[in-house]
């Protein structure tokens, strides 16, 4: 990020940093710039960094938010490791993440390919697919609750009309997870397909043409050019959906309430944190859950990073092959 700065900013505008450094007080000289960027750092210190540090302290204490804090050391974490409700929430979060992310990214890729064809009404289609993403999830969780309702939902009514057995969407463990996954898929497929579409449009048509000249067929082009070129974009969407999936809250909370529905089948990690901190007023345990979530997120980030570095090696190979091909073509 920072490499671009010297190149982009010419000496004329900038009053080079070297002369600034020679002067006794650069702050006097550049005070408008420092004043301009200060609000962000002040806000981050107060509302970002301080709570972060403070939550470590909270997680070593037993506190209901009103009385005095009791330092308990690692007791909250010791309890967390043996807490079946926490592990149930972890399991639910992963299952919902898994059954929503895979269909979502696949569908998004398909939609992006379809939209990438030279077709009419592209603008309208893009707006229609993106619309769910800007909509309030509270309102839509209520709508999904009625669509999937056990007794009067339109899906069960359709099943009944077809003579099939009705499914207890909102009272069985798997029904609940599928319903939540459907909400996630509905909301984020369009967003991801717009990003894939931008990625597809960024691939130069010359690449396709030179591959054509070399006699590559459709499948070869797809697997050797399209997928490797899209890889960074796909990775971006995997990372964002992982972060989103781990912090799932609104959908289960509005659909099923603070306790995650029958048998806590819709309890996610963040909902459990909210439940413990703001309905049971166990601030210490709530903070410990938050840090456990952070550790899980870090493990995920490491896995992602591993995948990136492996894939980058693969990508370079493809790139080399392609360059050789181009040279041959020339």
């Amino acid at each position: 990020m920072t490499i671009t700065n010297p190149a982009v900013t010419p000496a004329t505008v900038t009053q080079p940093a070297t002369t600034g450094r020679k002067r006794p007080n650069p702050i006097k000289r550049f005070w408008p710039q420092y004043v301009s960027i200060a609000p962000f750092y002040v806000l981050f210190l107060v509302f970002g960094l301080f709570p972060l540090v403070f939550s470590i302290w909270l997680s070593f204490n037993d506190w209901d938010g009103m009385g005095s804090m009791n330092f308990v050391g690692l007791a909250q974490y010791r309890f967390l490791i043996t807490d079946p409700r926490f592990w149930n929430a972890v399991g639910n979060t992963f299952i919902i993440w898994f059954i929503s992310t895979i269909p979502m990214l696949f569908l998004a890729l398909v939609i992006a390919f379809l939209l990438h064809q030279n077709i009419r009404f592209k603008g309208f289609y893009r707006v229609a697919f993106f619309l769910p993403n800007v909509t309030s999830m509270v309102a839509m969780a209520i709508v999904f609750g009625s669509v999937f309702s056990d007794s009067f939902g339109v899906i069960n009514s359709a099943l009944q009309a077809l003579g099939a057995a009705q499914i207890p969407w909102l009272s069985s463990p798997w029904g609940i997870k599928v319903t939540i996954a459907c909400m996630v898929i509905w909301r984020w497929t369009g967003y991801n397909s717009i990003i894939y579409l931008a990625g597809l449009q960024a691939i130069s048509t010359e690449l396709y043409e030179s591959a054509r000249v070399d006699g590559a067929n459709g499948w070869n082009i797809f697997s050797r050019i399209t997928v490797p070129m899209l890889r960074p974009v796909i990775l971006f969407t995997v990372i964002t959906s992982t972060i989103g999936g781990l912090s799932l809250f609104t959908e289960p909370q509005v659909l099923l309430g603070d306790s995650g529905g029958p048998g806590e089948a819709g309890m996610t990690i963040v909902l459990y944190q909210y439940n413990q901190a703001f309905t049971q007023f166990d601030f210490g345990y709530g903070s410990a859950i938050a840090w456990a979530l952070f550790i899980i997120a870090v493990i995920f980030a490491i896995i992602n990073w591993r995948l990136v570095s492996e894939r980058e090696v693969g990508g370079q190979k493809v790139f080399k092959v392609r360059r050789q091909r181009k040279e041959v073509a020339e």
Binding site: L58, T135, F278, F294
Partner: protein
Amino acid sequence: MTATLDSGTTRLADPTGSSANALARRRSLVTRIVTHICIVIGVLFSIFPFYWLLVMSTHNTAEIFGYPPKLWFGSDFATNIKNVVQSVALFRSLLNTFLVAASVAILVMFFDSLAAYAFGKYNFPAKNVLFTILLATFLVPGSLSLVPSFVLMSWLGWIGNFAALIVPGAANAFGIFLLRQFAQTSIPDELVESARVDGAGFFRTWWSIAVPMMRGGIAFLGIFTFIASWNDYVWPLIVLVDPKRLTLQVALSTLNSIYRTDYGMVMAGAVISVVPLIGIFIIGSRHFIANIAAGALKG
């Protein structure tokens, strides 16, 4: 998937007889129709919940619970709205939400464009270190600090106060990062320089040169922030405790949990919370979608 594109390039690269050409053209017509059908099916799934929301908001509860389900609009919308207004301070919440979202958006546009202009167009000591710190703050997950942030707000006396929603979000790393790119690419150095020679200071050039030149990016950031703030749920749910001072999302969730059985009414409330935002999105949609995609590719 790439069939249409293929046929085009085939013709370019490999000019065969006219019969093969006609065959290719017919095949491309078929693929185009199939493509449209597939897309329209996807669009229907995407639009259906909105349609369903509108249909249910126009029926009374007895009709909603009946079998077969009502698939077309009823006539009870006005009654449902009246019931909502009697149950929660809906229009008050609507006004609150609008004011909060607009305040956050205006503050973000102001602070982020200033910071982005400073980062994008000037060199000053410690700039690179400061910008790296800014990028690092992206990594701090928000849900990690719900509890300590709540405690902080209670120390500040901001529980139940809209300041708790507005102040922490008044400047953000995402907006500064985004606008910095606009500043670097769309503000000509000569213009800033000539204004400086004429005696204009930093803030003067920001207001009369940078802001007009970055207006596309600033407008996008404003709409994006407004929508995000409008839809924000977890944080308002935690800090807003006074039933008279709620935002729309929290009011709607309260309505849903108390009057779970009166679906028509809850749906009418949901319509009020969804429709204004869709209007705003559709007005700026073209620009908005392009910027979302561009942001993802750069990041």
